[in-house]
Structures are given as C-alpha cells and as structure tokens.
C-alpha cells in the first residue's frame, strides 16, 4: 500500500513553501531556526 506520506515529517498542509526548511531526505522534521544559516550583520558573528 506504499507509505503514509503524511507521516514523513513534512508539513504538507503548510500554505507556505516547505523546501526552505527541508532538513534533508533522512530527517524526521523540518529545520529549526537555529539550524538555518542567515545573513546576520557581520558584527553578530562574534566567533
């Protein structure tokens, strides 16, 4: 019967695009804000 595609950890009911927070083919849930690079002002990169 194949897979229950709604149970693969993708928010398929999202009205917005989901690819920008897609965490990859083996991830069980989307990326969290702390996983995603963001163009922050260089001063924020305190290293």
């Amino acid at each position: 019967l194949g897979q229950d595609l709604t149970a693969l950890g993708l928010n398929l009911n999202s009205p917005d695009n989901i690819y920008l927070s897609f965490a990859g083919p083996w991830a069980d849930s989307a990326c969290r804000p702390q996983d995603m690079d963001h163009n922050v002002p260089p001063e924020y990169l305190i290293n």
Binding site: A23, S29, P33
Partner: protein, 148 residues
C-alpha cells in the same frame, strides 16, 4: 506480472556498496555549516516530548515571548543562524540596542526626550568570554553615535 527480479552482478555489487554506505549514513550536522557551540545532533527523546516543531516557532512573535535571558542565550550561542536574527529582533522590540563598536547590548532606562550627542543612562551588558557569562558594565557612559 513484474515479479521479483534477480539482481545481475553489476547491480549486486552496487547493492553491496550501498549497503556498506548504509552503515555510515550522513549525520544531520554533515549537511550544516559548523556550529561553534550547539551543533545539530538529533537525539531520540521520549515520545511524550514535543517531537515536531512548535507552530510559528520561526517568527519574531514567538521569540518575543521568550525570556530576555533566553534571547541573549540564543543570540550568543547560535550565531549566524536565523534564530540569532530572530532573537536580535525580539530584543530590539524590548528596546535593547546592539552596540556594534563595543559588541554589547544597551537598554535605555527611559526613552530620551531628545536624542543628541549627550550621554544616556541605561543598562549596559556584555559577554565576558573569560568568565563565560553575561556581565553588567557598571559606570560605563554611552557614546550614542555607535548605536547600531
């Protein structure tokens, strides 16, 4: 009619290589830039814990409901990420300002009547890397012109 298919030698050797790779699956952090403090490290938590992202957890409104300490934690420990960006935005909504020259945050005690070159009274905090914690800067006067 398309029943099971015996693999030819070529496909068999491909399967052997795939199977070997299966035991070295990419790790979640392999596909992310190096995070200095909190690398992505998925660990199994009890099923009754939140397993999926809280709805709207990637919005400023969500971050505004976090405590100030949490926002500063996110700002310092998750640099270069969307979380840091959202934490900074939420802090600014709490009238914190990031002082780019001194790499510290500043919060006015009260909104100034007029904004000019005068010094302002406020709370100045910075991150003390030696003691690895947030510190208040006592007796510090503020050079308004560096305000971000």
């Amino acid at each position: 009619p398309l029943g099971p298919l015996p693999l030819n030698t070529d496909h068999q050797s491909q399967f052997t290589m795939m199977e070997a790779a299966f035991y070295h699956m990419p790790h979640a952090s392999d596909s992310e830039r190096m995070r200095v403090y909190l690398p992505k490290n998925i660990c199994q938590t009890p099923a009754y814990y939140n397993q999926v992202l809280l709805p709207h957890s990637d919005t400023v409104e969500f971050f505004q409901r976090l405590s100030t300490e949490t926002l500063f934690f996110v700002f310092y420990y998750m640099e270069g990420t969307k979380a840091q960006y959202l934490a900074a935005k939420a802090l600014k909504k709490q009238s914190w300002r990031f002082h780019t020259k001194y790499m510290m945050w500043f919060q006015r005690h009260e909104e100034p009547k007029v904004i000019n070159e005068e010094y302002e009274q406020g709370t100045y905090i910075y991150f003390d890397y030696e003691k690895w914690g947030q510190r208040k800067k006592e007796g510090f006067t503020f050079e308004y012109k560096y305000l971000e």
